[in-house]
């Protein structure tokens, strides 16, 4: 037995370098910058998670685990959090990581020019206790603070200052836009925006590497047919995403694996609920001020049928604004049942039969978004409404929603913090520019109780009490049909069959979990 183990270990040691390999991967969107603080978007943060690291990081199951902070604990009664930094960590250029870099990264990431500064809204100050201890003070108790900073990446103060990149500059770019110097598993050895980005393992990484990649190359491929051919012919080892309609075809190919999961993004319908909306926007009416009209839509839309036909069975029905994989998901609410008879009755009761519904929809933002909207349109027509669908590219879509030119619209929401509090803040709160609340609540949904509960949810330390409040909010939003959650968007990746990898619901592709066999 002993000999067997030894020889197995030996084989593993000998085999590793032989299998160690070049790994080529293709995505639709090139990360637009290498600066971890300049842009808050999934392609950028997902990619840079391979290069930079934060105080904490997310594991394969999305749970928070120590990274550059070896441990952390709350201070007092929730005045803040103390982070004990890991010792002996170096940046790719050899500089040591210490508390000064944390302070610097806080100042840099919370600067006005940084897109990620909203993460630090609850922070009142960051204090260096000693070289390897940092206190982050919050203005109110903040139980989920460590969860909310998993993508806050540490940059070396010396490197940034020496290269004139002490502040992010998204508009005209600076040294950090094209170069990177993190502490992460991989360092960038070549960066040609839009063409290719080459990564090589960082020899001085503090953690033990699980991967066997010797060189990884990222190529953006926008055309999905081209990406599919590249994967099938073996020109790339991985593509994200795989078009829904190609899943079956890929599954029949023995050289390729399709990796499917559920994304954090919930696709929902939103309604114009502001009184006098008819005056404020083009073609908008006061139709959905009446909760019965919204409920009728919820009953009329047959989500399982949409998933069966348009998503080809690759998505799950949603009951609320977050998916079950998120922290704070509420068991208290269930999906709306499909009930066309009930919908018709409600429409009669509200006296809105034959009303025109100005339905706005993007056609290039979410998976098969326009087809979903077409299905919804015909379902509403069946119960006696007259929806007028207007689908447009996302570049035109958001300005249209901001101008209130809609009765009903389609929205996808992926909570950046992976917590149920996130959509309440952006979608459920009454819009309030000063407090930065409800900034994506285009329909102007407003409920005093929800507004009252949000700050209490944000500062509740006790998980049980917090969940109770989240349940209450989820129930209110569901009962008032503020939104009609439809489904959780599927996540479909394609990889060569010799690749082992881990898929996370946040759609981040983490290279340190990739093995090429």
């Amino acid at each position: 037995m002993h000999t067997y183990l030894c020889s197995a270990a030996l084989v593993a040691v000998l085999a590793a370098p032989a299998f160690a390999a070049d790994f080529k991967f293709a995505v639709t969107t090139d990360p637009q910058t290498m600066d971890p603080h300049a842009v808050n978007s999934a392609p950028v943060l997902g990619f840079l998670n391979n290069v930079y690291e934060g105080l904490v990081r997310r594991g394969k199951d999305m749970s928070i685990e120590p990274s550059l902070a070896a441990s952390w604990e709350p201070i007092g009664n929730g005045e803040g959090w103390r982070f004990n930094l890991r010792r002996g960590v170096t940046f790719h250029d050899g500089a040591e990581f210490n508390a000064d870099d944390v302070i610097f990264s806080y100042e840099r990431a919370s600067h006005e020019a940084a897109d990620v500064r909203s993460w630090f809204a609850p922070v009142s100050s960051v204090v260096k206790v000693d070289d390897f201890t940092v206190d982050i003070m919050t203005s109110a108790p903040n139980p989920i603070f460590p969860d909310s900073i998993a993508n806050w990446m540490m940059m070396d103060s010396g490197w940034a200052e020496a290269n004139g990149a002490a502040r992010p500059d998204k508009e005209s770019g600076n040294y950090a836009t094209l170069n990177a110097n993190g502490t992460g598993t991989f360092r960038i050895t070549a960066r040609e925006p839009d063409l290719r980005t080459v990564l090589e393992p960082f020899g001085g990484w503090w953690d033990t590497a699980e991967h066997n990649i010797t060189r990884a190359e990222l190529t953006p491929i926008q055309n999905s047919a081209t990406a599919m051919s590249a994967l099938i012919s073996g020109d790339v080892d991985f593509i994200n995403p795989v078009p829904i309609q190609d899943i079956t075809r890929l599954q029949q190919n023995p050289d390729v694996n399709v990796i499917q999961g559920v994304e954090a993004r919930v696709i929902m319908l939103g309604f114009d609920q502001q009184a006098g909306a008819a005056e404020s926007g083009q073609g908008a009416s006061d139709l959905f001020l009446d909760a019965r009209a919204r409920e009728a839509v919820a009953k009329a839309v047959n989500v399982p049928a949409i998933l069966q036909t348009i998503m080809r069975g690759n998505a799950a029905v949603a009951s609320q604004l977050v998916s079950p994989a998120m922290r704070g998901f509420s068991e208290a609410v269930t999906p709306y049942a499909h009930d066309p008879e009930g919908a018709r009755a409600l429409i009669e009761e509200a006296g809105i039969a034959g009303s025109t519904v100005n339905f706005k929809c993007p056609n290039n933002r979410y998976l098969n978004d326009e087809s979903v909207c077409q299905a919804v349109t015909s379902m509403l027509a069946q119960v006696g409404l007259e929806p007028v669908l207007n689908a447009m590219p996302v570049q035109n879509y958001w300005p249209e929603l901001r101008a209130d030119n809609f009765d009903m619209y389609l929205l996808g929401w992926s909570p950046g913090t992976l917590d149920a509090e996130h959509p309440i803040r952006f979608l459920g709160s009454t819009p309030n520019g000063e407090k930065k609340l409800g900034s994506w609540n285009f329909g102007g949904y407003s409920n005093a109780r929800v507004d009252e509960l949000l700050p209490r949810i944000q500062s509740e330390i006790d998980d049980g009490k917090r969940q109770k409040m989240l349940d209450e909010v989820a129930t209110i939003i569901s009962d008032e049909v503020a939104y009609v959650p439809m489904y959780v968007q599927p996540l479909v990746w394609g990889a060569r069959s010799n690749i082992a990898l881990t898929q996370r619901p946040d759609n981040f592709f983490i290279l340190r979990w990739v093995t090429v066999n």
């Binding site: 637009q32 836009t177 020109d235």
Partner: protein
Amino acid sequence: MLSFMLRRVGQSILVLLVVGLVAFSMFRFVGDPIDNMLGQERTLEDIERLEQQLGLDRPFPVQYLRFLEGAIQGNFGVSYRQGREVSEILLERAPATLELAAVSAVLAILLGIALGVYTAIRRDGFVANFIMSTSLIGVSLPTFLIGILLIYLFSVELNWLPSFGRGEVVDLGGWTTGLLTASGLKSLILPSITLGLYQMTLIMRLVRSEMLEVLRQDYIRFARARGLADRTIHFRHALKNTLVPVVTIIGLQLGAIIAFAIITETVFQWPGMGLLFINAIQFVDIPVMAAYLMLISVMFVAINLIVDILYAFIDPRLRVAGK
């Protein structure tokens, strides 16, 4: 002659200004770049601040004038998406497009003329008829479909050629070339066929019909009567006279090849200016779109200008009527 050229140049500048104005007024319908530039957690204040910073809140004539002001000084602004100088990005991307266009043009010209001559000489032969009927495919199938078919056949099924990209490139002081590496040359094959196929069939059909016309002329009959070899008649006497209109068409098609490269570049993920433009549209990267459109119109205007001037040299009657 000088006044003729000056007048033509003046007209060209006017055309450029109008093209720029039309392009710029269309950008308003392409959408709003702000949402792409700011993340999910942006506030309405952020939107207003950025709009002001980019000058998007100003009326569009003001935006156009500001663009022209910069463009005259060679400054096309900074890309919204990449945060780099647009001129720098365009220079980086130009070699890929120009190389692809040049290879496609050479392929189209050589094959087009050769096949045109062949089908004209052997007008009733089986092979000639076969070429003529298959050439219909080149004219009638859209470029992207041809590209996808080629990829499917040669990359996915046969695995002979790469399915996308430019392969390895060599940097020759600011000019990247794929002509010096094996993978670069292999990568060029499919895109250049896709891009050049239409022009090739066009040239071939033109050469064939011109050649048939010429072969019926009296001087060809006399040449035959003199007992000249077929080869001499076909290539020395007939082809030379065929080429005059062909050269004109080739000149005009050259611009089209560079402009049509957009579709081929998208299908093959060819890192040229066309792909840059498509990506810019999706992101509403106005500085990149504006610079690309101006560049393409400058090119077309320049080619037309040169053709006009060449005509004037060839045919004195065209040098402005009444002078």
